[in-house]
Symmetry: C2
Subunit: 217 residues, 2 copies
Amino acid sequence: MGKENKNKNRVIPEPALRRMPCYLAQLKIAQKEGLKFISSPRIANIMDIDPTQVTKDLSYTQITGKTRVGYEVIPLIEELEDFLGFTMLDEAFLFGAGSLGIALIRDYGLKQFGLNITSAFDVKPEVIGKEYDGVAVHHVEKIQELISPDVKIGILTVPVEEAQKTAELMIAAGIKAIWNFTPIILTVPDDIVVQNTSLYAHLAVMFNRLHSKEEKK
Amino acid sequence: MGKENKNKNRVIPEPALRRMPCYLAQLKIAQKEGLKFISSPRIANIMDIDPTQVTKDLSYTQITGKTRVGYEVIPLIEELEDFLGFTMLDEAFLFGAGSLGIALIRDYGLKQFGLNITSAFDVKPEVIGKEYDGVAVHHVEKIQELISPDVKIGILTVPVEEAQKTAELMIAAGIKAIWNFTPIILTVPDDIVVQNTSLYAHLAVMFNRLHSKEEKK
């Protein structure tokens, strides 16, 4: 293997981690433009942050920039993809095969970024047995039967009143990380990772910003 | 109208705004459980925050809690939905009819929360002319022709290398708020609202947290 990524499994501060996919995107654009090297001031300028921030963030990876020329584009892309866990497919189960759940199953972007949804669960008889892009929907009671030690991620897209209960069920079955798309704050044991992504909360922020600007005119 | 919402169009701090959909979700659960009133300590306890925070957040709305009994559940639900802009349908155009874009068109949850996607745009000949849940995909050049002053929101789900260019096109056509699903930091004029929602950045954070916990064992 040679390439031993000693930092990959360290806990990286969330703001730095969140910027990394942005660095990756900018590097891919640079690659398409035929650039071999990119400097931290240039990355900083595109992202509207301080160059020292770029250097600091990228120091979590194994790639270091060269004086004057900066970072070598292709190795840094490869390093970031590996570092961010995008090159390794993590198997995931999805809970709640409603509109958003099915949308996530169909978004093959997730697979490109390392997340492979292999089974979906619901309680509604009308969706159980259905298949979306090859992912079958099972009754949630089947979780114990279908789960394997490889499945550590659960995606939560159930109705709000089912969120906490379903999270507990997932954890009991062995899920270690919950990607929570509900607006509910989940109560979970300390060793469980929860990533909250409430689309509707983002929508609320956008509406407020837009409507308050309209008001001012 | 009677109900004049003087605070609705004020700029509310983002952390407070982001908690509001969570209050709303908890209130809906309380409503289903048949509760008529809910106290701020109870809400605080469910959400694992301080009761004074709850009181402060909810003071942005027009509803005030009553001593000892707390907030009346149904009026607070209605107020929050109105306050968050979820009761009014905002028309939106979507840019980038790829996998994630189509998923968002199909997620009728967005409509329930006030966002109505009415047209989609792309440049790829193979998707132009297609329809998803009644939303037609047009060539991006048609934007000027199809836009109306009612369309103030644009959803950005194009490939990263098209993100900045497409944002500029949207703004030139009159879009005032961009819901950016790409990991690109957009450069926009001051009067344009940008809401960033990078699913893959959230994924990166979750992978890091999960893999660093696995490492520790």
